[in-house]
Symmetry: C2
Subunit: 218 residues, 2 copies
Amino acid sequence: MRQQRSAETRVKILEAALDLFRERGFPESTMREIAARSGVATGLAYYYFASKDAIVLEYYQRALEDLGPLLEPAQQHKKLEDRLNAILEAKFQYFEPNRRFLGALMSNAADPASPLSPFSEPSRPIREFDFAQFQRALDETGVSIPKDLAPHMAKILWMYQMGILLFWIYDRSEGQSRSRQLVKRSLGMVVLLLKLSNLPLLKPARKTVLDLVGILEG
Amino acid sequence: MRQQRSAETRVKILEAALDLFRERGFPESTMREIAARSGVATGLAYYYFASKDAIVLEYYQRALEDLGPLLEPAQQHKKLEDRLNAILEAKFQYFEPNRRFLGALMSNAADPASPLSPFSEPSRPIREFDFAQFQRALDETGVSIPKDLAPHMAKILWMYQMGILLFWIYDRSEGQSRSRQLVKRSLGMVVLLLKLSNLPLLKPARKTVLDLVGILEG
DNA sequence: TACTGTTTTTGAACACGTTCAACTGAACAT
DNA sequence: ATGTTCAGTTGAACGTGTTCAAAAACAGTA
């Protein structure tokens, strides 16, 4: 009974926060307002969430879980390009109502020491959950990938996705049409490169890319 | 005389700030401390600088100006690859003492609406000042660039540089050796691609890249 | 010198994210 | 029933970046 009530309070705060973020934007929403709208004291928000940022992080985590089933139709396409396109489109649509405040997740995106960064240790579970979608797309479409590249390919696609999402978040064009164009133009290239990478002639190039990935990961 | 004193106060505050940033780091330094160390009241720092961030931005601006002459030796190399390498190396060395707090400039790097972002309107002069170095390197090394690509090439190299600097800023390896490795491995590839781009066979690929650049710029 | 207008300087005040010592009350033990 | 415990909850307080009305210093003019 105790846990029940506690869990309810938690989501009450979470949802009040997300409502406010959607209405006013992330920086414009204060913790005091969030608490007030949830009918609790300011401090209680901090009992349930480590920080204001952590609320967004938790939203993002839950969102990815929700997204699992929603991506099922996307994962039915036979061609890798179509799958990736469908995955990206599904994410665009799912996140659209909250696009504005998702930028909060990118505030310190580049700093791997910041807990909010997609590359940080705390967000590892979320990240790996997301990897799995791309791994599955690669496995099930049966594209042939050189042995040396194979273990890193899902990660590379994930990075590509993060770049696209980053652009999408700050995309001011009507209906984020520019992001769609970006996907249209770049996705073909990514898949083409992946196919070309099988050519024996390109082994040295592959080696270079692998070295780069190695350095970037540390 | 009035202006003289005023200008002196300004640099007094700027230097006290930079000292503190170097000693304690950017987030750990408070505006009150900066003012105290400069021997002025808290509010005065805001008379001269719009915000705490703006102090870093001003430092970066002045730094790029200082850097002009320092890049002269780098701009003597005959081969493009050597020049770019020397330019990057010079920046590494120049910024090294302040590497830690330059991350403040990247806090909202991705958001073009944030004044601090390298892509923002307020930082346009700084950015274009920086472009010029790359344009010069391209011009003076006489690499042949396809007509359609030529107007964008300096910008593309600048973006490459920003990526490298971003990595360098957060590079925790001893003496930022990993950043050096990254340059070593990636620079050759960049220059190779630039040379390959002249092949008539690759005209469609070039078209795609140009489309991408167009979309990214808006 | 005294008056006027402008630039510089002050420090208190504001709103924010966050912390914390104290309080409440339901669950359980005696 | 009474006492004990502790997750849940409170709101004042802290330190921060930033703003602002007022004071002070200055330059020019009479």
